[in-house]
């Protein structure tokens, strides 16, 4: 139940992200759409790693080393999502710097006037 609800939420966020990416004209809103799409994908990856009644895979006061196999959540999607979040920030910052450059060149923030790369 929990995994399925989280998956639905992730898919809805991804759909909103793709919709915003394709239908908005303002450059900053397009980049916000990318960021929402990213967040949706990360939620989906973490949902894949969850197991019922699972806890975090960290040995501490609540969890001993022997109980890890039976109670801990999959650590691999966490590692993948960590990488993906950091790279998502780098790519978003790069996109924003290009947006500032495009505005400085064409003096318009809407995508219709910024079409030099289109053949």
């Amino acid at each position: 139940m929990m995994t399925q609800l989280l998956t639905i939420l992730a898919f809805v966020l991804m759909a909103l992200g793709v919709w915003g990416l394709m239908s908005r004209r303002h450059l900053i809103r397009i980049i916000i759409g990318f960021s929402l799409l990213d967040t949706g994908v990360h939620l989906l990856l973490v949902a894949f790693g969850y197991r019922s009644e699972g806890t975090a895979p960290i040995i501490g006061s609540g969890l001993g080393a022997e109980e890890l196999v039976s109670r801990a959540v999959d650590p691999i999607p966490s590692a993948l999502v960590l990488t993906a979040i950091v790279i998502g920030l780098a790519v978003t910052a790069l996109m924003l710097s290009f947006a500032v450059r495009m505005y400085a060149r064409n003096r318009s923030i809407y995508i219709e006037k910024n079409k030099e790369l289109k053949w």
């Binding site: 989280l6 900053i28 960021s35 990360h42 975090a56 500032v100 505005y103 400085a104 809407y110």
Partner: protein, 90 residues
């Protein structure tokens, strides 16, 4: 209990995402996308991934919002230097 939290935060996230795409003011849209990341980091804690929650809270809701706001302020700075557009971004 976790189910109720999941549904509440899920609905709040979808509302914030809609505000981010459809609000008139760009600064509100940027802050709404930061709110989406913050709620996602709470959901990561509920699903047993505290490392990811820490990373998402620090990067997604703090640094990404700041980077968006810096870029927007640069764009407005360029617009206000221009005589013809009268300080408005169009």
């Amino acid at each position: 209990m976790t189910l109720i939290l999941l549904i509440t935060f899920g609905v709040m996230m979808i509302v914030a995402a809609l505000v981010a795409l459809y609000s008139r003011d760009i600064v509100s849209a940027i802050i709404a996308s930061g709110v989406v990341s913050l709620l996602a980091s709470i959901l990561y804690v509920l699903f047993g991934a505290p490392d990811v929650a820490m990373t998402e809270a620090a990067i997604g809701s703090a640094l990404t919002t700041v980077v968006f706001l810096f870029a927007w302020s640069r764009i407005r700075g360029i617009a206000s230097q221009d005589d013809s557009t009268d300080g408005e971004v169009r």
